[in-house]
Amino acid sequence: MGVYEIVLSTDRTMMSNHHGKEFLGFLATGPAMGVPEKLWQWLTAPKVPVDELGRPREAPYGMRKVEAVLVDAGFKAAIIDPDHLDKHLDTMKVLMIGHHDFFAYGPPSSEWWSLTGKEPLNRVCFKRFMESPAVRKAKKKGVRIIAGGPAAWQWLWELELWHKWGVDTVIEGEVERIIVDVVEKALNGEPLPDYIYVGPGDSPSVEEIPVIKAGSVNGLVEIMRGCPRGCRFCSVTLRPLRFIPLEKIREEIRVNIRAGIKGAILHSEDVFLYGADGVKPRPEPLLKLHKMVVEEIGEKGDLAWSHASLSAIKYAEEEHRVVSRIMEEYVLNDHRRFIGVEVGIETLSPRLARIIMPGKSAPYPAETWPDVVEDAFRIMHENKIVPAATLILGLPWEKPDDVVYTAEMLDRLRPYRSIIVPMFFVPMGALKKKDWFLKDHIKPEHVEVLKKTLEHTLYWAEDIINKMYLKEPFLLPVRIGLKMFIKYVKWKTRRILPHVEAMIRK
């Protein structure tokens, strides 16, 4: 029955549309909490519909790009759902595995792990996938395994598993320009390098980036690659800045609509920098982009942004009123009552902001970062944009005053509808000791920030669920599950917090 020589796959936490609600996918980066694992998995990462060959209706976007490159090059390649790999065991010669967090060392998985002391679901599922009879049989019959994606580096911390599972090559970076040659050599049985890092100089041009061939998870489409902020520790910023032309974005939205996906998530490191002049958003490209997108997805299509920077939101609105124009003219209607986006606060201390992310506040000075954050939060609240924001605690450069300042500043964000997720900077290796990492590292001022963010997030999460989220009748069980989870977190916090505070006082 098998058809494909090259099969791309991953575990269930990735191969899911999370009930059509991308944010629910984040819960799969934590361990099952308050419910059995199977229920947690259904809540966060249900199975996706597949065709008779096991090809999923929706699959991770990065894997769709690799699939498209290989199909365009004439290979018999396809993404196959993890439950249907056995259908292609007789033809499979190369198994390509993608993930954005193979071993849960990325945020927020590592934070859930450090807070609860339990292995997150995505790690558990990925290990289960690699140990599955289909993958083991494939390896036994000589299938070559290539792993890649943004979490490729995590394999360097799991060399025993790499060895045990027989992974042939791990590739990190943008692969459009080079993957055909690697796969050709794999098919020909030629020796492969163990590790490949594709440097910024070998990034594909816009023309070399293909259009996906089938649906991406929740209609995610890329609008740009790269970032102009120039932070010295970041590889994204070294890569050339590429804006995907409107026609190409339109084509991909149409691919998704044909697959039955009713909406789009615009993906970028910073959506408001689409067509920007450096770090300064320009109204024209942003308005054109959103006009085209809503023309394609229609009145009832869901729309979300993947990431935006707070400084770009502030600049776009204060200089050009472009945030409110996009929301009023294109996004908001009876069906689309809000839009979600991930943003990074990271710290509210200007001193720390200057050290860890001097480019993040641009074009505003780093010293004004807390004001930039508050202004952007106000703009988003007024325009029904709901941010899921991250804060980082425990950075090596952090001083107690930075954390105290951050805690105080969090009060200023209280009036604005948002989810704020504190993340702990966890050194690599700490998690694998299977110890509760935070007990030796958490300080009283951290507890204050954790308490404030938890209160903030629980308050607004209930508001969002009651007024805006999961309103579709068929999502009622998910809505009930989510409400139960919030109740569980509140109950658990009441029980744990006194112990944590007592432990810290000691």
């Binding site: 100089g201 070998d202 590889s235």
Partner: protein, 125 residues
């Protein structure tokens, strides 16, 4: 061994002998930066000679792999034979690209092979 198109064209071959014991490969980054400037190239094929089996030898090279964000790196493993270094040098020289040696830790045999073949090398830690 056929080299990869694009990634192993216009590159620099670096042969790394990884000796036993703990080594700090992050210092290799400075060597790569210097070689990149000298030859005006940003792609490296790193040929590893190590007593550790694949892929466990990567533990010793984790430092450089995590530190690097600027250059294309292709890692190839060649087992633990100082004499095998001659074959790698032959292959690398045939490609016409520059060849450089690095010894990480205590691995005199490899250093001696580099010397006998006239390969410029340095010992790091």
């Amino acid at each position: 061994m056929r080299s990869l198109k694009i990634l192993e064209e216009e590159n620099i071959h670096v042969i790394v002998g990884v000796g036993p014991g703990e080594v700090d490969s992050s210092r290799m980054y400075l060597v790569l930066s210097r070689l990149s400037r000298r030859y005006g190239r940003r792609r490296f094929t790193i040929h590893v000679v190590s007593s550790k089996p694949r892929p466990l030898y990567l533990e010793e090279l984790r430092g450089i792999l995590l530190k690097n964000i600027a250059y294309t790196l292709v890692l190839r493993y060649h087992g633990y034979s100082p004499e095998g270094v001659r074959n790698i040098v032959d292959l690398a020289r045939r490609s016409g690209s520059p060849v450089h040696g690095i010894v990480l830790g205590d691995f005199h045999e490899v250093a001696r092979v580099f010397e006998s073949l006239g390969i410029e090398y340095e010992v790091l830690g």
